[in-house]
Amino acid sequence: MAGKIRQMIDSIINQRAKDNPMLERVIKTKLILKGINPAKFTLQSDDDPVVIGKLEKMMQELK
């Protein structure tokens, strides 16, 4: 389903940053350093299993 990556990125940022703009910048930097640039993904972006795998790993730590 296209757009899954964008949704996952938004979920990670929302859950981890909790509306703190400084934390939001740090989390975006962490994502970019993982090779996932949030600016490059939209709700129309194709699903990439490698990227999804990395994001799933990050989301597991939130539980």
């Binding site: 740090v26 962490k30 970019i32 350093l33 790993k57 939130l62």
Partner: protein
């Protein structure tokens, strides 16, 4: 004064430790962080330092040069002592294999048990981590990525050096010496703190996209679909043969909100290019050009001082490549003097850690 530094240029371990301890006599140290040249026998440094401060948590590592008391030095040792008011609490964990995810998670579980709070919930304005890792491990990227997933608390630090011998670095904690591994220290400071990340480069706006890489080996095979060495040389405007002379002054960077996270070239390997830092397929790296380390570092410290309303102490993890450039330009005295107004120690690192693993940067933990 809740944070105090000491410096020793004594060549003998016993004399060095005695010198440092003497300078910190009557200082009620709860924690002592130290950086020592690899010239000091690693089998005895840690124990002797811990024995000299029996009531304190003592940890540190070997270096590729030291910074302290307003100077940049080689072959010396520097120490920073913190009272219980400066650091309310500290928990130090040593993981002997920095690639061992299970052991890193266990260290974090230990932090959670000690502070009685989940790492994922800890307030990053109330806790800070210091990380010292074997600079020859090549494990820093995975380590920082895992730490970044586990917590919002910032872990800042550097990769231990060994005076450019590239034989063995050492980490010191618990009165012991560790040849491999990582020290993770989770602190609850009693004073405000901030981070300084400064690197002195201009973005030349030439993009080198990593189109093929051996990520495990920090090796780029192709930039922009061309052999990496050729693409880099073309971007510099020189030949492949001459290009290595440009490595120090023209590294590449992952530019995030106009700020480069530098990746320094190490060597050409055939047509490939090996870096001192992680490079991933798909990364769009920008070619950089070095600028003014003294001016930029001075500005960064001044900015932090202004934002915090004052600075009392800085721990500086300063890339060895910056140190070498400063030596080349005869500017080590000027760099050391940038820190003479505060209690400051630091060392020349084989890599720096702040959010991720980076090169040719000074990452600093600054206390109000």
């Amino acid at each position: 004064m809740n944070i105090k530094t000491a410096l020793s240029t004594k060549e003998n371990v016993d004399e060095m430790v005695s010198d440092i301890a003497g300078q910190l006599e009557f200082f009620d140290a709860e924690m002592v962080l130290f950086f020592a040249s690899s010239a000091y026998d690693p089998r005895s440094v840690s124990k002797k330092m811990q024995d000299s401060f029996p009531m304190a948590r003592v940890f540190g590592c070997t270096t590729a040069g030291e910074i302290g008391c307003g100077k940049m030095l080689d072959g010396s040792a520097v120490a920073m002592a913190f009272t219980g008011e400066a650091v309310k609490d500290a928990k130090i964990e040593v993981v002997e294999d920095p690639r061992d995810e299970k052991a890193i998670r266990a260290a974090f579980a230990s932090f959670e048990s000690y502070y009685k709070a989940p790492m994922s919930e800890m307030d990053p304005s109330k806790y800070v981590g210091i990380i010292l890792v074997d600079g020859l491990s090549g494990a820093e990227e995975g380590l920082m990525e895992l730490i970044g997933d586990l917590t919002n608390v910032t872990f800042i630090g550097g990769s231990a050096g060994d005076d450019l011998k590239f034989a063995a670095t050492h980490l010191y904690a618990n009165g012991k010496s560790y040849k491999n591994g990582v020290i993770l220290a989770l602190l609850q400071p009693g004073v405000d703190f901030t981070f300084i990340k400064t690197q002195s480069f201009r973005n030349l706006d030439k993009t080198l996209e990593v189109t093929k890489a051996n990520e495990e080996k920090r090796e780029v095979l192709e930039f922009n679909g061309k052999p990496a060495a050729v693409a880099y040389a073309d971007a510099i405007g020189t030949t492949v043969e001459e290009a290595p002379k440009h490595f120090m002054h023209n590294p590449v960077g992952l530019v995030i909100e106009d700020e480069p996270y530098v990746r320094s070239p190490q060597q050409f390997k055939g047509d490939s290019m090996v870096f001192y830092c992680g490079v991933m397929e798909g990364m769009e790296l920008s070619l950089l050009e070095s600028t003014d380390i003294i001016g930029d570092t001075k500005k960064a410290i001044a900015q932090a001082r202004e934002e915090m309303g004052g600075l009392s102490a800085i721990v500086n993890f300063n890339c060895i490549l910056r140190t070498l450039e400063l030596k080349q330009k005869n500017l080590t005295k000027e760099y050391g003097e940038l820190f003479s107004g505060v209690q400051a120690i630091g060392f020349s690192t084989y890599g720096e850690q702040y959010i991720g693993h980076i090169n040719q940067t000074a990452t600093m933990l600054a206390f109000k």
